[in-house]
Every structure is written in C-alpha cells, then in structure tokens.
C-alpha cells in the first residue's frame, strides 16, 4: 500500500554559512586605526571609548586578534617614524626638549591605546605569548627613536655635554635631564646602561684623570683632598638629582680610582704637605678627610697606616735613643706619654677611632719603647717621681688618669719583670722614707698591675705594704712595754721587713754608735720575745735619723740624715778632725756608700755640716774632715739628702740586669716543666715557642737561655732526649 507519490525528503546541507560581512575585520580595524591616528594627533576628544573598546573586543572575539595586533604594530611604528622626523629636525637645545615632549605624547597615546585594547591585552596576548601593549610601545619607541641612527648619537653627545658643562660650573636644566634619563631607564635598565651609563663612566674617567693630574701638579695634599672630596660629593648629588641610584657606586668608583687610588702614594708622600706633615702639625681636618677618602679605595687605609707606623717608629726611635733625653727619666716618660696622647687624639678625631689604627699605634709604641733597655727603669722612675711629689694635691680622678697612662706604657714593655724589679726598689725607698704622697694611689697602681699581670706579680709588693702596717703596730707595742725606762735614750723607729719581699741586699751592718746600739738591743729582745723563731738583722743602709746639733754661736739645728751619716756625725762628738781612713775604720761603712755619704755632708752648698780638706767635689781616700763650726741655715730643720744617683750607675745596672737574668731562670724552668708535664713529648722548636708564649706577659725569653735551661733540666733528669729523634724531649715523671 505504498503510496506511489513518494516525496523525496532530502536534508540539504546548510550551505548558507554564517558569514559576517567579509570586510568586517577590515572595517573594524579601520575604525580603530583611525582612532589611533587621532590619538597621536591630539584629537581624541571626538572618540567614543565604549565604541572603540567594543570593536577591539569584537575583533578578538571573532578571531581577528592577530590582525589587530599586527595592525597596531604597523600603525604605531609609522607614527613613531613621524615623531622621529620632528625630533631630528629640532636643533641645538631644542632637541632634548622636543624629545621630552614627544616622549610624553607617546606615553599618553600608549596609555590610551592600551585602554582601548585592554581586552586583547588580557586574553589574546597571554595565550599567544606576545608582548603586552605597553611593553610593545616602549620597545617600538626604543627601536625607532632612541636607537635610530643620528638620534642615538646626538642624544648621547648632548647628555654627556650637559654633564660636562655642569662639571665646569654651568647651570643646566636638571628637570629636563631627569626626564630624559628616566625615559632611558623606563626603556629597560640595559638601554640606560648601554646608551648612556657606559659612555658617561668612560667620559668621567677621562675627565677626572686629567683633572687630578692638573690638581696634583699645583695643589698641596690638603687642598687636593678638599677638591677630591668636593668632586665626589658633586657626583653623588648628580646621581640623586637625575641618574639611576645604581649608578652611584659606579661613578663614585670612577672618581675614587682616578682621583685617589691613582695618586695615593704621591699624595701621602707629598713634600711639605703629605701625611707626615699632617701628623706632625696635628691637622685633624685634613687627616680626617684623607681617612674618609682613602677608606673608599682598596689598600687606601693600609697605605695611611704604613706611613703612620713608620713615622711613629722613626720619631719614637729618636726619642728613646737620644742620649740627651736619657738624662732625665721623668721627662723621657713624659715625652712618651705626650707622643701617645698626640696620636690618640689624631686617631679619635681624624681616623674615626679605627681599631686597626689603634693597633698599629700600639705596635709601634711597643716596637720603639723596647728599643731602649732602660725603658722599664725609666717608667718606674717616672712613677716614683709622680708618687713622691708631683701628685701632691692632685684630685683622685687625675691621679687615676696618670696611673692609667703609665699602665698603658707598661703594657708595651716586653721585659715586665725588669720593671717589677725597679718598681720594687723604688717602692721600698718610698715606703721606708715615708715619702709616698698617697697610700691610695700606691695601692691603686698595685691593683692595676695585679689585673694586668696576675697575683704573682704583685704579691711581694703587697707584702711590703703589710710589713709597713705591722711595723707600726710592733713599734706601738714596743714603746708600751718600755714606758718606764725611756729616759734620755734616742727614739727608735724600726720597720721590720720580711726577707724576700723587699729588694734588700744583705749587707754587713755598720758600727752603730753606742747610744743607738742600746736601744736596738732592747727592741731585739722585745721582738724576739713576742715572735719566736725569727731572726732580725739590721739594714743600716736604709735607715734615717734626726740629730740635734749645736754649731758655733750656739746655733741649734735638727739634722735629718741617713743612718750612715748619723754614724759619721756621731764620731765628731768626740773629735774635730777625722781622716777618711779613720771614719772608715770606725764605722765600717762600705766604701762606695761612705764616699757618697761624706760627699753629701761636706760638699753640698748650704748643707755642709762638715768641712773637707782639700776642698774638692769628690771624696779621696786621703781627705780629712772637720766639724764645720760656721755652718748656718735659716731653717731649724735641715734635711741632708744623700747624693743618690737617681738613675742607676753603670755597675749597678749590670748588677740589676744580672739579678733579673738570675730570677728568670727558675721561671723559665717552671714553664718548661709545666708544658712538658702536659705534653709528655715535644720537639725543641715547639717547646721554645710555647715557653715564649707562656712567659710573654712577664718578659721576652731569650731562646738561647731557654735552651740552656732545657739542658740543665735534662742534666737534672726532669727531661730526656728521645733516643731516635734528638730534637724530641720526653718528660720524666
């Protein structure tokens, strides 16, 4: 039953493809291109943003993104060609201004174009990995303007000329300069570096190389540094005004190299105005400038330091070896202190308290102070002088300051044990003669020595103070027990000194006058009665006595003399004339002391209680002495000092030195044993270096002496040599 009429249904393909206007893309692009033209022509006020935005959106949406993008590149490139022509046409000063103006125009246009094409920037560009619109605009500007033939070279030359004329003192338009430089930086740091900075640094190097040459020929060191500093500041200021901050390090580097590093040696050694002159004349400002400039260049500070060290060493060496100066130890030390103060002040005022400079100063002082073997003695004498008289009435703080300065010098000493020796002698004299100004000052110095060198160093010194104190108590006890029988006998004041603590040389006592001997015996009985198991021996070479004497015309005086002098004078109670030999026999005073004592009794003007024949300055063995009846003095009390060479005489010096060497032996041996005990085996060189290190705080041990001590210890079987390696030592427990 099929129907004959079969209608053929055929589904046709939908041929009618949805084609938008074939010219759609072209038309839309024309609208946008026109808009871009208008924007570049400053004629955008008639444009509809919404329409343009929508058109750009539609092009991307309908897959014409590629056309839009390439169209943009073409149009923008052609506009930039026009701009470049007008920039090129600008002459002279106008060139930069025109460039700046066109740059501003382009930036504004770029912003507006990007606004229109925002949708493309957001979707089409990232997915196709193309350059975003803003960056594209900058790249095109770079390629068609900044890197375009003549403009590139002209721009560079003009910029460098402007910098140059500013350097010669002209005023330039910094605002314009800043805009142009900022443009270069906006185009990428490589554009700024390649198109400007590179040449800028090159030209600057030339400029400063020539200028520094000119300056150094005609300026003294101080002026030169002033000029260099000013140039450096100018360059930093320039960077802050119109260059990239990252250029600062580079341009200052150029100035530093050309103006400072290249002329460093010449500046430092410049005749009449170099570093040494500045140091001598205390030119703090110039020195400070030199420091801050030289610090900027490699090896700058070490150059200053080396010159300073050699200068200080040289002047110091002159100071300590000048025989003129050695006459007065106090002045000698005072000069050292002044020298130190001077350089301390320079370092603090000009060298920024630089630690390395302080170290250099210290090492220089250490170097030259130890050039003179008498430095320890002189420093001790200086202290002695200060503590005897100079510090009288000085405030406690000032005393501290002086003592601290002395300690500083003390630190420089390598042979601290020698200082200790002398210090002990001087302290003993001060204590026994009761001459010390202030007990506090004495103790304060001892505390300082103790912190510096440890307990051992000062234990004997402290023992001396203890002796003084106990002696006072003992004397009180003695007189309390003797109340009944004092009578007419002389008053005795005894200081009981512990053997070992004091720098006494056991010397045979002289013959004391009978009057004194009695009292002495009483004291001995008393003392040994209260302290058992002790031995007393009289140190007649250290005592003093007050004598009442009557001279011609009944003049009475009280004479303050030493024990030796007292013994001599007492002889004249029974005789008017005595020969030297007679005195020597009667008193048994050692000849050198006797001579000194007679000299001070007979040869000092105004204090000559004795008369000598023949009259001469020195004492001879054949001299004869008379009681000087005509002695007169306006004072009742007359102090007859002993002519003491304050400094040691040559033989005494030898003796002290020998004693020091002798004292060092056990210390060196102790050090060797201590080291070997912990190391068990050690070779010679290491042992010597360790011993030296261990003893450094006290003295500089001589390797030869160390070797002798080692040999002595081997003999005494503390150590043995290794049977295989003769350089090795072994500790024998």
């Amino acid at each position: 039953m099929s129907t004959p009429k079969r209608r053929n249904f055929q589904i046709e393909a939908f041929k009618h493809r949805v084609v938008v206007d074939p010219n759609y893309a072209e038309k839309t692009w024309k609208i946008l291109e026109h808009a871009i033209d208008e924007i570049y022509n400053h004629n955008a006020s008639g444009l509809s943003f919404e329409e343009l935005y929508r058109n750009a959106y539609n092009m991307v949406l309908h897959k014409f993104g590629e056309k839009l993008y390439s169209g943009l590149v073409t149009t923008m490139t052609s506009h930039l060609k026009d701009l470049s022509k007008s920039i090129e046409a600008a002459q002279g000063v106008l060139f930069l201004e025109e460039l700046n103006r066109k740059w501003a125009d382009h930036n504004k246009a770029l912003q507006m174009i990007r606004d229109i094409l925002m949708y493309m920037d957001r979707t089409f560009i990232p997915s196709t990995h193309k350059t975003p619109v803003h960056e594209l605009g900058l790249n095109l500007w770079r390629d068609s303007i900044i890197h375009f033939g003549k403009i590139q070279i002209r721009l560079r030359i003009i910029l460098l000329e402007l910098v140059q004329s500013e350097r010669t003192g002209e005023v330039i338009n910094r605002g314009l300069m800043r805009n142009i430089i900022k443009m270069l930086m906006d185009l990428g740091s490589s554009v700024y570096q390649e198109d400007f900075e590179k040449y800028f640094l090159e030209v600057s190097a030339h400029f400063y190389s020539a200028e520094s040459q000119q300056f150094i020929e005609c300026c003294d060191c101080g002026d030169y540094l002033k000029k260099a500093e000013r140039r450096l500041n100018e360059e930093m200021e320039r960077v802050s005004h119109y260059l990239d901050v990252r250029s600062e390090a580079k341009i200052t580097n150029v100035v530093e190299k050309e103006m400072i590093a290249n002329h460093m040696q010449r500046l430092v050694h410049m005749e009449n105005s170099g570093l040494v002159n500045m140091l001598v004349d205390d030119k703090y400002e110039d020195l400070g400038r030199m420091y801050s400039l030289f610090r900027r260049v490699p090896d700058g500070l070490s150059t200053i330091k080396e010159v300073m060290i050699s200068h200080i060493r040289e002047t110091g060496k002159q100071l300590v070896t000048d025989p003129e100066r050695l006459r007065d130890p106090v002045d000698f030390v005072q000069r050292l202190l002044d020298e130190k103060d001077k350089h301390d002040k320079i370092i603090s005022l000009a060298f920024n308290n630089d630690k390395t400079f302080q170290n250099a100063l210290n090492s220089s002082f250490e170097y030259f102070i130890n050039l003179n073997p008498r430095s320890p003695e002189f420093i001790s004498l200086f202290v002695d002088d200060k503590l005897r008289k100079d510090l009288k009435g000085v405030s406690e703080e000032d005393v501290e300051i002086i003592l601290d300065k002395v300690m500083m010098l003390f630190r420089y000493l390598q042979e601290k044990d020698i200082f200790e020796k002398y210090y002990k002698q001087h302290l003993a004299k001060r204590l026994l003669s009761g001459k010390t100004v202030s007990d506090d000052a004495e103790r304060s110095l001892i505390v300082k020595l103790k912190t510096e060198c440890g307990y051992q160093f000062t234990s004997k010194l402290e023992g001396m103070f203890t002796d003084m104190k106990t002696s006072q108590d003992t004397m009180q006890g003695f007189y309390a027990s003797q109340v009944a029988e004092t009578g007419d006998s002389p008053t005795l004041a005894v200081q009981v000194l512990t053997t070992g603590s004091w720098p006494t040389q056991p010397s045979a006592p002289c013959n004391l006058p009978a009057e004194i001997l009695g009292v002495c015996e009483k004291f001995r009985t008393y003392y040994l009665g209260t302290h058992t198991g002790r031995r007393l021996s009289w140190q007649t070479n250290m005592g003093t006595a007050d004598l009442k004497a009557t001279f011609g015309k009944g003049q009475k005086h009280e004479l303050n003399v030493s024990t030796y002098q007292m013994c001599v004078l007492m002889l004249f109670n029974n005789a008017d004339r005595l020969s030297y030999k007679e005195i020597e026999q009667a008193t048994e005073i050692p000849p050198s002391d006797l001579k000194r004592c007679l000299q001070s009794l007979a040869c000092v003007k105004g204090k000559n209680v004795l008369r000598k024949e023949p009259m001469s300055k020195d004492i001879g063995e054949g001299d004869a002495f008379f009681f000087n009846d005509k002695f007169a003095s306006k004072f009742y009390k007359v102090k007859i000092g002993t002519v003491v060479a304050q400094k040691e005489s040559e033989p005494e010096k030898q003796e002290t030195r020998q004693r020091v060497e002798e004292d060092r032996k056990p210390q060196i041996e102790a050090a060797i044993v201590r080291i070997m005990k912990s190391r068990r085996t050690l070779d010679h060189n290491n042992l010597v270096s360790e011993v030296t290190k261990l003893l450094q705080s006290r003295f500089l041990a001589n390797p030869v002496i160390i070797k002798k001590r080692i040999e002595s210890l081997i003999e005494r079987e503390f150590l043995e040599r290794d049977s295989v390696d003769r350089k090795m030592y072994r500790y024998l427990a």
């Binding site: 955008a44 919404e50 929508r54 507006m112 606004d115 229109i116 925002m118 957001r122 990232p126 990995h129």
Partner: protein
C-alpha cells in the same frame, strides 16, 4: 579619575542604570571603567549625560552589585558562564573570582561542584592550580580546567602513561610520563595550561649522552628548580634537577646501592632546610625508604627505612609521607589511616604511631585505596576510602571529615588556589570543595 560629578548614568543595552563614580572606582584602573573615566578619555564628560554600553543589562546589574557590595549573587535565570564572559569584557573577572570563595579553611569546606570527566579509564592523579584551576591525569592524558572549571585543550607526552604532574604557575604545567622503549618518547614536558602547547621537553644526560627515561614524582622549588625521580635503562636511576626557566638539566643525584630514589612515590622540596624529601613506599617497593637529600653537599642528610624493622602483628606499612617543616617532623600514614610521626632532628629514629581509635578497622572496602596526605595552612589532611579527614593543632586532633556518597573511594586529592580537589576512583568524577565567603554579619 577626572569625574566632575559623582553621579554616573549608564545606558546598558537600553536599560538605564545610575551609580556613583566611587562605586565604579572599586573596579580599579585596570578595568574598562577605570579606562573610561580616566581623564584621557573623559575630556567631554560635562557634555555627556549618559554613557552607552552595548552589553547585556541583566549581567551588568549583577556586576554593578558586585562593585557596590563586593559580593556576587547570580540570579538562577542567568548561567554562571554568562556572568564570567561579561566580567571578562569589563575586566572584572578577578573581582568575580575573589568574591566566589573565601580563604581556605579545612574545617569550613563546602562541596561546590562535582565534575564528571569523559575519560575512558580511571583517573589517577589530580593537582590543584595556584589560581583555582586543576588538572587531572587520566592514563596518558591530562585534562586541564581553569578556575571557572572550563576545560582547556588536554595535554599529553606522546600519549605515554602520565606518572605525575604539577603547576609551576597558573600558566605552566609540568607532566612526567613513562618512556617508550627506543623512541625517546615520554619523559617530562612543560606545557602551556591555556593552550596545551608543549613549551619544553626536559632531557637527562648521562655521561654526555642524552638518554630516554621514565619520570616519576615531581616537586618544585621557589628558585625555579624542578625535581623528578627518574628511571633510565642503565644506571641513571635517581633524582634529576632542571631549571624551568631555561629547560636545562642542572644536576642529577644518583641513587646509592640498596636505596631507592628513582621509583619515588613522593618528592617534597623543603624550603627552610634547603633539601628534598624523597619517599619510596609500599606497594611500589617491598620496603619503604624515606630520605632527605641536600644537593649542595650531594649527600643524604637524613634517612629512614623499614627494612630492618620487626614485622609486628598488626602490619603497619607506611603508605604516604609528608614533611612538616614547622615541627621538624615527618608525618606518615598506613593503610588503616593511622598517623605516625618521625623526628627529623634525629637520625634513624622510629615511627611514633598515634593511638587514636580506629573506627575504620574491619570495614575495609574491597578495593582499598592508597591513603594520601596533604598539609595546608597548618592543617593536615588525610584521605582514606571515600573521605578526607582534617587534623588540627599541635596534637593533630581530628576536626572535620569530608565525604561524598558516590564516586567510590578517593584515589587522590590536592589543595591549592583556596580550593580542595578530590578525585574519585569510579565514575571519573572529581569534587571541588571551597570555603564560602564570610557571613554577612
């Protein structure tokens, strides 16, 4: 913006809207409104009394509301996709994204969407992208989704089985795949996430010869390095290092005898310690190996293995491991979802298993799924069967559990871009969890 009056009148597709310049300023300069009201374009503003925009007025209304309040409310009659398209037109897509979901918090997650894939096989891995997108490995292909869950062209390395993948940034994905014998296919490649184009293929050179290799687990460091476990055919087993900017190989850590690196299940770059965690685990190997590699000294600086550990009655095998730099420890998980901890400061320590009650025990599904661990913002996540547990605090207390009724057990999950993605082993479905924006009051 050079607007004279505060009031602005729009005619959008024939409908009049009035708003204020201040509201529009919320759009920012980098939007259509920002450009439109810039003084460059607004010279004639005094003469114009309304601005015409040739767009959909309903969507404009939604977006204007977004600019006014910062919240996005889409009426049911408008498809979400339409809003996205319009937002893209106005340059407001970032605003929309920011208003869609709040800052990630494992305890406030809500299921936002389930996406069913079209892949023939089962998915194997999922990775969250930095801006809310994700990619799903499915056999030899990787499907890429952006944050709107729009699917982008899939990516593949000569259709070789994908082992691991990861987002370097929102534009770039690295995938690692098995080699094909003799063809030099497979290995590792860097792809554009939006177009699926291959940007680089990474190569392994061994004794100056380029070798084909199978790449496994991946990890990235913030200094542009890519780490991957590698298996070659001769002895190029170990961890390869590449620079993802240049695409060049920069280092290779050869595995030592008796220690497995080339088969690693998990790599994790530890930024503070400046070393790489490498974990090779059961069942890929019979034993578990966990080590920290320091590439500066070319040395294993910490290691642990269960080779000599006594086999206990309740067999506890480590199935995943994650390093926690804050507490200098490594967290591990076994097939019963027990958490264990190891101290990184002590060499050769043992696993301290946490003794929490095991509700799961005895109801293991027929097809057990590998437990996985993740750490995010001080919260620890552990997946087991069809749920994800969230642990917080210094004692890692169980605080939340995410579960969905269908899709089967979870074979992988990943957190990133303020979202959690969970891939289920059946139905090829993945879930997206978000933290809703904070409440109005």
């Amino acid at each position: 913006m050079g607007i004279q009056r505060d009031r602005v009148r729009f005619n959008v597709g024939g409908k009049i809207f009035e708003t204020s310049a201040t509201t529009l300023a919320n759009a920012g300069r980098n939007s259509m409104f920002g450009a439109m009201f810039d003084e460059n374009w607004n010279l004639q503003s005094s003469e114009v009394d309304e601005y015409f925009i040739d767009r959909n007025p309903a969507c404009f209304s939604v977006l204007l509301d977004l600019l006014r309040t910062g919240e996005l409310h889409i009426p049911t009659n408008i498809p979400e996709k339409l809003i996205y398209r319009e937002a893209l037109y106005y340059g407001l897509l970032d605003h929309v994204r920011a208003s869609k979901f709040g800052q990630f918090d494992g305890n406030r997650l809500k299921l936002a969407m389930s996406v069913t894939g079209r892949a023939p096989g089962d998915g194997t891995a999922i990775r969250a992208g930095p801006d809310g997108g994700c990619c799903v490995a499915d056999g030899s292909m990787v499907h890429v989704y952006d944050w709107m869950l729009e699917e982008h062209p899939p990516i593949h390395l000569n259709y070789q089985t994908v082992n691991d993948m990861g987002w370097i940034d929102s534009e770039n994905i690295v995938i690692s795949a098995c080699e094909r014998l003799g063809r030099g296919d497979g290995g590792m490649g860097l792809f554009s996430s939006s177009t699926g184009d291959l940007r680089y293929k990474f190569q392994v050179s061994h004794e100056n010869q380029v070798k084909s290799f199978t790449a496994g687990a991946l990890s990235f460091s913030s200094d542009y390095r890519i780490f991957a476990s590698c298996k070659g055919r001769s002895n190029e087993y170990g961890i390869g290092v590449w620079d993802h900017v240049t695409g060049q190989q920069s280092d290779f850590f050869y595995e030592s005898l008796g220690w497995s690196l080339g088969d690693a299940d998990r790599l994790q770059w530890l930024h503070e310690r400046n070393c790489l965690l490498v974990a090779t685990l059961f069942p890929r190997k019979d034993n578990c190996y966990i080590s920290l590699l320091d590439f500066r000294v070319k040395r294993m600086v910490w290691s642990w293995s269960d080779i000599e550990a006594p086999v206990t009655v309740v067999e506890k095998r480590v199935r995943d491991a994650i390093a926690m730099e804050d507490t200098s420890s490594i967290c591990v998980v076994n097939e019963y979802e027990d958490l264990g901890f190891m101290d990184l400061r002590r060499e050769g320590g043992c696993v301290r298993w946490s003794s929490r009650s095991r509700l799961m025990k005895g109801k293991m599904p027929d097809e057990p799924c590998c437990p996985k661990l993740a750490l995010h913002g001080g919260q620890l996540f552990s997946s087991m069967n069809d749920s994800i547990s969230v642990f917080c605090g210094s004692d890692w207390v169980l605080t939340s559990r995410l579960r969905r009724s269908y899709g089967g057990s979870i074979c992988d999950f990943s957190i990133g871009g303020d979202r959690l993605f969970a891939l289920h082993s059946e139905e090829n479905v993945f879930d997206m969890w978000e933290t809703p924006p904070p409440p109005i009051i």
